[in-house]
């Protein structure tokens, strides 16, 4: 049986990520600035793809996605210096293996706490629609931020520098994990689209009342969407702070402005399109570097882009379509003359 196109693509990506990380760890090849961009892009891809599950598939409008990443970030901040060394010592095996184990544990815990946050945010969705839900998600995000700013052990508003960086893999090896997470998010998204719960999401997006009428539990679908997307965002946060070794509860790193940036990625790519979210996460990550010579105009350009996009092509680059091998094969078949 021929392995499916999607499987091959995924395997290829993971293999490439492993090679890059190996090269990086042995200090060969990659320009550090390029590497940093790749890690950043990977994190943004995970954020965009997970937000797409809520905004794109389920049609809800979440403006607080960065807060879930923030939960992952601060769960790590709380755990890594406090219990990291103890856990690291307790695991048997060579140093590299132990570091990976600690990282995976942090990711699981961070993702779980973030998922709990997603549950909390999804609960009001029973009574709230559209704009109101948007403002509530935004509100949750800001409340979380203010809370963190008041907790001393998390660094409060002054920020937190991670000291025990030896218990997690070195930053040069992190790209592999970032890519793996991004890939997992994409796979889950695609499989979700074909599955029962995923169909429920789409049904809720198209017409919630009609969906209820045919037996779809809309409330459960919405909450599930929030929980899954929050879990991924939380894990992305864990990886992000492990890379940066610094956490900062500001509006642009885990607050409203970051949430808007992720919304921009999803909307630009097309609400509901996973490939769109992936591509635009990459574009938006790289754009500041390309535009560095005119950095002060960058945000003005973003906002103009957003407005023009909504006025001219609100469905984004891909609309709800996806990039896939099947489509390319079909197009090729259609253009070759029949024998």
């Amino acid at each position: 049986m021929r392995p499916s196109g999607a499987f091959l693509t995924g395997a290829a990506i993971l293999a490439a990520a492993a090679v890059i990380s190996a090269l990086q760890v042995t200090r060969v090849a990659l320009d550090p600035t390029v590497y940093r961009l790749m890690v950043l892009a990977g994190v943004n891809v995970t954020l965009a793809v997970s937000l797409n599950m809520v905004n794109g598939f389920t049609g809800q409008f979440s403006l607080g996605h960065a807060a879930f990443m923030g939960i992952g970030v601060y769960t790590t901040v709380f755990l890594v210096d406090r219990w990291g060394p103890a856990v690291y010592a307790a695991i048997p095996g060579p140093a590299g293996f132990r570091q990976v184990a600690v990282l995976l544990l942090l990711a699981v815990v961070g993702g779980a706490v973030a998922a709990a946050g997603g549950l909390l945010v999804g609960l009001p969705s029973l009574r709230l629609r559209g704009d109101y839900l948007a403002i509530v998600t935004l509100g949750f995000g800001e409340i979380l931020r203010v809370f963190i700013q008041n907790v001393e052990v998390l660094g409060a508003s002054r920020g937190y520098n991670i000291t025990h960086t030896e218990v997690t893999p070195p930053t040069d090896a992190l790209f592999f994990w970032v890519a793996a997470l991004a890939l997992a998010a994409v796979m889950v998204s695609r499989n979700l689209m074909m599955s029962g719960p995923g169909r429920a999401f789409l049904a809720v997006r198209e017409d919630e009342i009609a969906a209820e009428a045919v037996g779809v539990n809309a409330y459960r679908a919405k909450v599930l969407a929030f929980v899954i997307s929050a879990a991924f965002a939380g894990m992305a946060g864990v990886l992000s702070v492990t890379y940066n070794t610094y956490a900062d509860p500001s509006i642009q790193s885990i607050g409203f402005l970051k949430s808007i940036e992720v919304v921009l990625m999803v909307v630009l790519g097309g609400l509901g399109s996973v490939s769109g979210a992936v591509m635009c996460a990459g574009i938006i990550t790289v754009l500041p570097e390309l535009l560095r010579s005119i950095d002060q105009y960058r945000m003005v350009v973003y906002s103009l882009m957003l407005i023009l996009l909504m006025l001219g092509r609100p469905q984004g680059i891909f609309g709800t379509r996806e990039l896939s091998w099947d489509r390319l094969r079909r197009r090729k078949a259609a253009s070759t003359p029949r024998q």
Binding site: D31, P32, T33, R36, Q149, A156, S157, R158, G159, N161, N244, T245, Y246, D248, S250, Q252, S253, L287, L290, L291, R292, S293, I294, V301, L304, M305, L308, L309, L311, G312, R313
Partner: protein, 395 residues
Amino acid sequence: MPVNGRVGALCGVLLLALAGCNKQAGRGGNAATATGDIVVGEYASLSGTKADFGITTTNGVALAADKINAAGGLLGRKIVLKKEDDQGDASQVGTVVTRFVTGDRVDCVIGEVASKLSKRAAPICQKAKTPMITPSSTNPEVTRIGDYIFRACFTDPFQGGVLARFALTTLHAKRAAVLRDVSNDYSVGLADFFVREFKRQGGVITVDKSCSEGDDNFRPQLTAIAASKPDVILAPVYYREIALIARQAKETGVKAPLLGGDGWDSPNVLELAGGALDGCYMSNHYSEAQGGPIIQKFVADYQAKFHTKPNALAALGYDAMNMYAEAVKRAGSADKAKVRDELAATRGFKGVTGTITMDADRNAVKDAVILQAKGGRFVYVATVKPVGGAEPAGK
């Protein structure tokens, strides 16, 4: 629909045009080599609520670098300053400084003023084994991060003690209220050190209130402070906040004078406060009134170049750059490890802000000055020398 298509095309053209814009900029071409220019990366707040800090400091650094270059360069090599705006934001500091040490591979990093930002940059410079000199971050934790991190100024245990002793002995204050900015390490640290020394010498802290950088309204805290009837109020915040606090203190009927640290130092602070700061005191790194040929020459050169008088932060930027230059000369090369060793061995360096000698923690042991705001300017009141030649150990 034709309209949609056109707008979409406009979007695409905009994007492409902008992406193309950067082709001429060139990147990483300034990576330092053993014989080429000496590249110094400067990260500073050139915009945002702390913009005055960055602008004055980079002026001082530029003045020093220009003078060295005009005199034939450093070991015959030209100093190239790579200045980047971090917008007063810690995340931006991370991005900018990482680019300095890994992308541009600079020989040295100079920055920042706010301790919170220096604390963010220090681990990055330490990991890349690139010397970092902060001209004016006073929080002791900054240099504790690693042996490649240096500072050209005194630290807050000293500054806090200076303010506490000034309040007790010169102002005869027995009761002090505190208004600290919890979003900045500098403010929290300075407040803690002041409180420790003030209480140790028999003073009473009436209330300890908090605020954040960027706040607009301090009246609730000031009302509570006024009610506690202090003799003096310690407000170790930055200049934008103290301007607002001073105005609102007058409105709230607060009579006690405000006391602050070098964070107040901006050319515009008295104007921003609109006279409300008159009669208040601040500790700082230097005052033109201290006199002497080095200070006079510096002030004259600065005025000729920038058409305005320098402040302490400009003077510290100037000293930091010269401190680095001296270390390079002694090391005979810009090799980062050798320069680091020479920086640590700096003894009796005659800077504008005083004679700088690096102690074991790579901090400068120097005098502080007390200034008072009077009639639109800061007037020199006194110089305070470090007790016993070294400041008290940190916490």
